[in-house]
């Protein structure tokens, strides 16, 4: 697989993730303001802004990726890191809420897992495809760019 192929795939992929996160972020903000009522989006305006930032980071990488500039990979990697952080946070919240529900604490009696399904959870599979792709060898992310194989930890 050529670097050029990888970069184009990543650019296309980054713009898809950016649009998905951007749309979800806007919906979450609108829901927070009370302009729309949509399930599984959440109504925390600031959380919506955080999702928008993830979209911004992914979108900032598109142009350099198309220009075969390795800086684009940095935005892609950090975008994935931020999406992962938001996903892990929401999974932890679901997990601890589940404990409260199992223990039958008063505040958790009416809790449902559906209440906690926010964009940071259901969008994450899209954001993580690239990471899975790299692990399975279908995509090369961290070694892209003019000095491939030079990226070290």
């Amino acid at each position: 697989m050529s670097d050029e192929y990888n970069e184009r795939v990543l650019a296309l992929y980054a713009i898809t993730v950016a649009i998905a996160y951007g749309a979800a972020g806007v919906l979450q903000i609108l829901s927070g303001v009370g302009l729309v009522q949509i399930s599984y989006v959440g109504s925390d305006m600031i959380a919506g802004l955080m999702v928008l930032v993830v979209a911004l980071v992914f979108s900032a990488g598109v142009k350099p990726l198309l220009a075969s500039n390795r800086e684009g990979i940095a935005f892609f990697v950090v975008g994935s890191v931020l999406a992962s952080i938001l996903f892990i946070l929401q999974v932890l919240i679901v997990g601890t809420n589940l404990i409260g529900w199992v223990l039958r604490f008063e505040d958790w009696l009416s809790w449902s897992v559906l209440n906690d399904l926010t964009p940071s959870i259901w969008l994450y599979p899209i954001a993580s495809i690239a990471l899975v792709g790299e692990r399975t060898g279908k995509l090369t992310i961290t070694s892209l760019g003019p000095d491939s194989s030079e990226v070290t930890e």
Partner: protein, 433 residues
């Protein structure tokens, strides 16, 4: 020529010269041993490209800090409920003690006070855990670097942000860390604004009030309060720089560490080292305070075992009630704020004791009936901005070598807290009525 160089160097900061010399030596050594190959781009470089980005650096910082406070509040909720249930069970047992004063001391004083503050151990520990992860990963140094740009643009000293970051844990070491700031005026400015940073002791108040009045957005409200602390620290620093002190800001030199993968064990150890200090405080200082508070709410001019309305604690709170009437705070909250001058944990502890002695075991419900939502937010802002604790005032006096500056910090923070809380009430009243 040498004389001229020396005179120029005299004007520069010694640390900058030292850093320049260090890099000069490193450069010389590299010239001898380094063989040029293809340029390397490490993972640290890659991450720094975005984390230190001109425009994205601050939004990314906000995402990370928001995640930290959301984690602190939301994930700790169930553990708080567990501790609360355990103390409720214990309180049920101590209430059965046949000696009334002893039953009241244990149930209302110790369990209602210290037990109630211990409910907030999970968020405090989780916050320290999150800070440890950020520190161990190397991101916290980047946060200081990103904020430095903003501060320098506003004419402030970039290095001031490190004491401010330390202030997230405790304001006492934050004030002491201002020693690293160059220039008397810059140092004094940093000392005076450090107490505006939200320390861990304020967290129980935020968690309690935000949990009662903004349950769906409590994590976000806490995040906004921490952010507000930074904003006010920067604004006040700017005000001081423009009025009281005028000194040029020096450049901020900082070596950024490589990113590291934080280990669970390392972060837990760091969390424990800091968190255990809170537990020690709860077992000593806060325990003593709880007994004093209980005594003051159990005894009044009418003798021992009077109703809390006739107790010394009520007299104290009611004396200041006219001042706080525009903010909508009742005497119970005012008493908490007065004791909060000793340490912020006392705000929650005194509310726990007073409501418990009154027979209101559901503190959340008692608060909800005595405060409007706007007043609750005003209370959060007041707690954020007024004098953090007596220990901080003491360390300000020691670091500045002047009681005048210590007194000034207390007075300006009280005025600022009152003015901003009143602004919240006024604007909130216009928006929500």
């Amino acid at each position: 020529m040498i004389e001229q160089d020396l005179s120029i160097e005299d004007e520069l900061d010694a640390e900058i010269i030292l850093a320049d010399q260090r890099y000069e030596i490193i450069g010389d050594i590299l010239c001898e041993v380094y063989q040029e190959g293809s340029e390397k781009w490490t993972l640290s470089d890659m991450l720094d490209k975005v984390f230190l980005h001109n425009y994205l650096g601050i939004p990314v910082f906000l995402v990370i800090v928001w995640t930290m406070f959301h984690f602190t509040f939301q994930v700790s909720l169930v553990f708080m409920a567990m501790i609360e249930a355990a103390f409720s069970l214990l309180g049920g047992l101590t209430a059965q003690i046949p000696v009334p004063w002893l039953a009241s001391l244990l149930t209302d004083g110790i369990i209602g006070g210290v037990g109630f503050i211990l409910v907030f151990v999970p968020p405090i520990f989780f916050m320290y855990f999150a800070i440890s992860i950020l520190e161990d990963s190397g991101y916290l140094a980047r946060a200081a670097f990103v904020m430095d740009r903003v501060m320098v643009k506003m004419g402030l000293h970039g290095r001031s942000f490190i004491p401010l970051l330390i202030g997230f844990g405790c304001n006492v070491p934050a004030v002491m860390a201002a020693r690293t700031v160059d220039g008397d005026a810059n140092r004094l400015t940093t000392i005076l604004v450090s107490p505006l940073m939200s320390c861990a002791a304020r967290l129980p108040v935020y968690v309690l009030i935000a949990g009662v009045f903004f349950p769906a957005y409590a994590g976000t409200v806490i995040f906004l309060l921490y952010l507000l602390g930074i904003v006010f620290a920067v604004v006040m620093a700017l005000v001081f720089k423009k009025t009281l002190f005028r000194e040029e800001s020096a450049p901020f030199l900082m070596e950024l560490p490589m990113y590291q993968r934080p280990t669970f064990h390392g972060s837990v150890v760091h969390m424990w080292e800091r968190g255990v200090l809170f537990l020690k405080k709860a077992g000593t200082f806060l325990m003593l305070g709880a007994i004093t508070l209980w005594f003051m709410s159990y005894v009044g001019p009418g003798g021992i075992g009077v109703s809390v309305e006739d107790s010394f604690v009520s007299i104290l709170g009611k004396a200041a009630e006219p001042i706080f009437a525009p903010l909508g705070f009742d005497w119970q909250i005012i008493t908490g704020l007065i004791f909060g001058l000793l340490a912020k944990e006392f705000v929650v502890e005194s509310l726990g004791i007073i409501y418990s002695v009154e027979g209101n075991l559901a503190i959340g419900a008692a608060l909800a009936s005595s405060l409007s939502t706007v007043s609750a937010f005003a209370l959060l802002v007041f707690v954020l901005l007024y004098t953090p604790c007596i220990a901080t005032v003491g360390v300000i006096r020691r670091e500045t070598g002047s009681s005048k500056w210590a007194l000034f910090s207390v007075v300006y923070q009280l005025i600022l807290a009152y003015a901003v809380a009143l602004l919240v009430i006024t604007v909130g009243g216009l928006v929500f009525v």
